[in-house]
Symmetry: C2
Subunit: 352 residues, 2 copies
C-alpha cells in the first residue's frame, strides 16, 4: 500500500488553508535559518553558470497560504545573494535572474485552490507539479533549490509488520510509534524512513544541479505528542465498546519525526549530499493556552483527517477529534512544560 | 473587461472532458501536419545546443483528454526527429532528451481534473501553469515548442464599441460577428484580434528559444456557423418576450476565427516569427447527421456555456441550448453542404 494523503481541501472550517497554524509557526521559525543558509552557503556562481533562471522546488506545498510566505522569503534571499555576488565581481554581465517555482504535492492535493491563491504581486513564474516526491518530478540537473517543510515526515507507506499480529513489531492498541514501549515498532518506523529517504535523496540528487541546495524542515516535539492524545481518544472509544479494537490495531499514522542523529545517518549513508547545517530549534510556540490546544487539534485535524476518515470512517473520526479537544486542559499543561524544548529540526544540504 | 472563460469543469453530462468531439477532430485532423512540421522544419541541433531537456508549452489545454493525445504525438515526433539527427551526425554525444510539458489554461480551469487524468505511461514530466497566455508564462528563452489548438480564437476581451449603442460598430441583435452585415462589427473584432496577437507574439518571442517552433490550430468554418444558430435561438426568445433584447445587444462571444490572409498579416506585422507552413485543411467531419448536430451543440455548449451563463443566467442558457438542438435538422443540412469546405487553419511558425 502506498499512502497518498492530501491535506483537507477547500476553505471550510476544518480545511488545511484555514488551520495550518503550527505549519505557519514552523515556516516562520525556520525563516532566518533558510535565509542564512542561502546567503552563507549557496554558491551562486556555480548555480548561475548554466542558466539565468533559478528553479525552486517546493515539495509538499499543500494549498497555501504558508507555502507562499516561504517562497517569498526564499526568492528575496536568492535575489540578495545575487546582488551581493554582483557587487564582488567585476565584469559580471548576468542579468538579474528569473525565478521559477514548482509547487509539488500529491495528485489528490487541491491545486485549484493553490492556483487561485497565488499572490498577485509574485516575482516568480508559478507551476504545479502533481506526484509523490519519492519519485522523479524534474529533468536531470534542472533544480537549484529545494524546500520542504513538514514534507518528509510523511512515509511513503506503513511497514506491513506494524499491522501483522504475528510480527514482534505489531503495534497493538496504538496508532503511532510515539508512546510505543515496543522498540520493534520504533525500529520498523525508522527502517521505513531510512528506505524512503534513500529513494528521496537518490531522485533529488539526479534533479538538483551540482552545488544546488535542499532545505528540509520537520517537526520535532510538539506536534508529535498530539498524536498520542488523539490515539488515546480512539482507545477511549474502544474501551467504551464504540469502536472495534482491531480497527485501532490495523491503523498506524504514516508519519516519522527523525532526530538529528537519524537525519545525519540517512544523509551520510546516501552520500550524495553534504550537510551544511543541522539544528534543533525551539520556535517557542505562541500556542500554549487551553484555547490554543483546541486550535492545535483543529490544525492537526486538517492535516491527518484524510487518513483517519479513510480508515475509521467519518463518524469515528469526528468523535475522536471531539474527545481530544475535551483533553485541551491536559494538552495545554503538556504544551507549557514542553514549550522550552526544541520543536523543529532544520537541515540544509548541498548536492556534492 | 478581461474575459477568463474556463471550459465546463468536472465530468458531468455537459462537461468539456466528455463533449469535446469537435476539438478532438481538430487535433486528430492536424496530427500529420504537426508531425510533418517537426520532422521537416525543426532544427534539433540548435534546440538541443543549450539544454538536453525539450520544453513544450500547451496553451489552452482545458482538462483533457484531447490535450494528452496531442502531447503524445508531439513527444513521439520530437523523439523521431532526434533519432534521425543522431543517425546523421558522427560523434553526437547527447543522450535522448528529457521532455517537460507545461499545460496552460486560465486560473479558473479545473487543473485537478487535468492532473488526475494525466496518462500513467507518459514519457514526459507534466506541470500545470495557470494564467492568460496573453501574458508571460515562462522565463526568457526557455521554451522549444508551443502548441495551441482552439486557443488563440479566444480574444482577451470584447471591444467596447460592440456594446456601445452610439458606436457604428454596435452589434445589435447579434452575439458574434459571424452573420453580421455591419462591416464595422467585423472590423472591431479583427482589430481586437490584431492587438491580442501582437501581445501574444511578443510574449512568446521572449519565451521561445531561437529556432523554436509554434503550432497554432484554429477552427475555420463548421464551428463558427453554429454560433449563428445559437444566436438565432436567443433572438427567438427575445421575439417571444422571454428575454430582454438589451441583454442580447450587450453580449458578444469573445471568439475570432482568422483567415489565412489575416493570420499572415498579424504574423508579418509582428515580425518576430517566420511562417513555415500555413494551410487550410478540410478534416471532413464525421459529424454530419442530425444526431451529430445534437452532439455538436453539446460540444459547443461545453465550450461556451461559461460565458453564456455568466451573462444570461442559467435558465436562459438552458433554454437557448435546448432550442438550438431543436434546429438540428437545419444544422445537419448545413453541415452536409459545408463538409467539403476547409474547416481548420493550421499555422507553423519559427522564432527568428
Amino acid at each position: 500500500m502506498t499512502t497518498s494523503i492530501p491535506m483537507n481541501a477547500g476553505d471550510g472550517v476544518y480545511s488545511y488553508s484555514k488551520n495550518s497554524h503550527l505549519q505557519k509557526e514552523m515556516i516562520d521559525g525556520a525563516k532566518e535559518m533558510v535565509i542564512d543558509a542561502i546567503i552563507r552557503k549557496l554558491n551562486i556562481k556555480i548555480i548561475l553558470s548554466s542558466s539565468n533562471t533559478l528553479r525552486i522546488a517546493e515539495l509538499g506545498c499543500s494549498v497555501g497560504p504558508n507555502t507562499f510566505s516561504a517562497m517569498q522569503y526564499i526568492v528575496e534571499a536568492l535575489k540578495d545573494k545575487y546582488l551581493l555576488y554582483q557587487d564582488q565581481v567585476i565584469n559580471f554581465t548576468n542579468n538579474i535572474p528569473e525565478f521559477q517555482i514548482f509547487f509539488n504535492d500529491h495528485v489528490t492535493n487541491d491545486f485549484n485552490i493553490l492556483f487561485r491563491s497565488l499572490p498577485f504581486d509574485r516575482s516568480y513564474y508559478a507551476y504545479g507539479i502533481p506526484g509523490s516526491f519519492y519519485g522523479r518530478l524534474f529533468p536531470s540537473r534542472s533544480i537549484h533549490f529545494v524546500h520542504s517543510s513538514s514534507g518528509i515526515n510523511w512515509l511513503s507507506k506503513i511497514p506491513k509488520e506494524l499491522v501483522d499480529e504475528k510480527s514482534p513489531a505489531w503495534n497493538k492498541g496504538l496508532i503511532h510509534y510515539v508512546g510505543a514501549s515496543n522498540v520493534e515498532v520504533v525500529n520498523a518506523y525508522f527502517a521505513q524512513f531510512e528506505k524512503d529517504m534513500e529513494v528521496f535523496f537518490n531522485v533529488r540528487a539526479e534533479e538538483i544541479v551540482q552545488g544546488g541546495m535542499m532545505v528540509l524542515i520537520t517537526a520535532f516535539s510538539g506536534y508529535i505528542r498530539l498524536m498520542r492524545f488523539f490515539g488515546s481518544s480512539l482507545m477511549d472509544l474502544v474501551n467504551e465498546g464504540k469502536l472495534d479494537e482491531s480497527l485501532v490495531d490495523s491503523f498506524n499514522l504514516p508519519l516519522y519525526y527523525p532526530s538529528p542523529q537519524e537525519m545525519t545517518k540517512v544523509v551520510e549513508k546516501n552520500g550524495l549530499f553534504s550537510i551544511e547545517r543541522m539544528e534543533l530549534i525551539n520556535i517557542k510556540s505562541n500556542l500554549v493556552d487551553e484555547a490554543d490546544a483546541k486550535t492545535l487539534m483543529t490544525s492537526l485535524r486538517s492535516s491527518i483527517e484524510g487518513v483517519i476518515i479513510s480508515h475509521f470512517g467519518s463518524k469515528i473520526a469526528e468523535e475522536a477529534c471531539a474527545r481530544t479537544i475535551l483533553k485541551s486542559e491536559e494538552i495545554s499543561e503538556w504544551m507549557k512544560v514542553n514549550n522550552e524544548k526544541p520543536s523543529i529540526l532544520f537541515v540544509a544540504l548541498k548536492r556534492k
